[in-house]
Symmetry: C2
Amino acid sequence: MVENRIATETDLKASQSAGTGTLGKSIAVLELVATSETPLRFTEILALSDQPRGTLHRQLSHLVEEGLLSMGGDLRYALGMRLLKLASNTWAKNQFRTVAEPHLKNLHEQTGETVHLGILHGQEIIYLDKVESRQAVRMNSQIGNASPVYCTGVGKAALSVLPEARLIDLVDRFSFQAYTPNTHLSAGSLLTELAVVRRVGHAFDREEHESGIRCVAAPVQAPRHGIVAGVSVTGPAYRVSMEQLEGWAVAVRKAAHEIEQDVEVRLGPGP
Amino acid sequence: MVENRIATETDLKASQSAGTGTLGKSIAVLELVATSETPLRFTEILALSDQPRGTLHRQLSHLVEEGLLSMGGDLRYALGMRLLKLASNTWAKNQFRTVAEPHLKNLHEQTGETVHLGILHGQEIIYLDKVESRQAVRMNSQIGNASPVYCTGVGKAALSVLPEARLIDLVDRFSFQAYTPNTHLSAGSLLTELAVVRRVGHAFDREEHESGIRCVAAPVQAPRHGIVAGVSVTGPAYRVSMEQLEGWAVAVRKAAHEIEQDVEVRLGPGP
DNA sequence: AATCGAGTTCCATATATCGGAATCTATAAA
DNA sequence: TTTATAGATTCCGATATATGGAACTCGATT
């Protein structure tokens, strides 16, 4: 049942979770619960998974025992508190983030708008950090948020520095969704823009993910640490014009470059 | 090797992770990495765990495959981005938090100081949400942060509503640490204070966890959902006197009570 | 009473994990 | 260059663990 080979780097980056092995299947179940909007009952999970009753029940029990899931008195399963605790450690101790942090603050002071640090993980960008202008809207949820690569500034910036082979491999798997009228809907148009991004060194999000939201982003690489990421400055369209973003592009690229330098210095050159 | 019995509720609340079963052992390894300040190498983890080389190596490989760990080019293991993504879902979709949120904001407006919502999980309080006064210091890390129950306001408030049996069971396992000169260092002094807390309905943190930080907290229960939690108002000692906290106690208790009511109404009365 | 639906438990079987030992890979010492 | 050493990785038979179909329990409904 389990493919008997070692997962290559490409595999890891491309398919988030093989779902093989005892651990993989358990995490796949966890992911099912994570994907659902509301807490699920046993039978609902059973319908979504392709596991037999007995198997699924045991898996859920184990996940609850470990605190990765919780089951309320209503017999519904929700994600467990232990995940919050683990993620808190992930965030606080992540060295890439730690090194980047001052540069994000600096970039925020130059622009006055929200700054994001996002990292490429599989087919998605996961937001690792942000510096907000004011706490207008509660955006704590932003950290850890996963967004598609193909319609975010950070995503396109990150894609622009991938080796051709890995890029094609990834893009082939995309299933494009029209989040707004401006969202890229084909590999072709995306790749065309990426050529431009590669040339100028920064990417825009022209309200492609969320109407009324624009950003400029630049790629950040730490090849020796297996990290492909991006920094961005984001703002509402009514306040931030495309010309304004153009103006910030240099600062964003500079910040991205400084992060790369700093990672090199602080985390060592690698193997 | 595995105890062949079903874990009771008490077990689950008391011992965070049995570490039994394939999943349990994997998560125990994950926890080892989470506990460390810096990324660990294989041999370091080997020394900390009591697993044989081959076994540990396979476990780590699987955790990396699933994105729960990441391994840099320097062969060091760190917590993986997938944990951030899972936690983001945990936070955003947690119904208890969602219901409590407006009450926290309300409480913040009344007091002007930082408001916390923490939930009892095993021997710790895990912070589920917060509303900050100003973004003075970066405190994003707060969410998901785990603190000892016995030296936090929210912790003592939560303990005060536990059934005697479960309380004793928990307290017996504490290993008290003097975070400040004011920290409780024995079950006796803690239980004495809890009797008071039970009577008046709120608990204080008199700089017991962190010097210069005080708070008032009140317990929040959702018994039908298996939740024991607390709300608190926290402030720096130089700005917030004990008298001030006394003054806020009523509002805190009121907020706590309203959350309980709202949970009852919005999430249903339970089974 | 009897039927139904949902959750839980049981146990012979299949298989993934286990773990000691061999192998590989870099780096340092002779 | 050769040898030595430490660390990471792989191998494979034995064994513990997960598997999953079927039986069981418990409430609610007819």
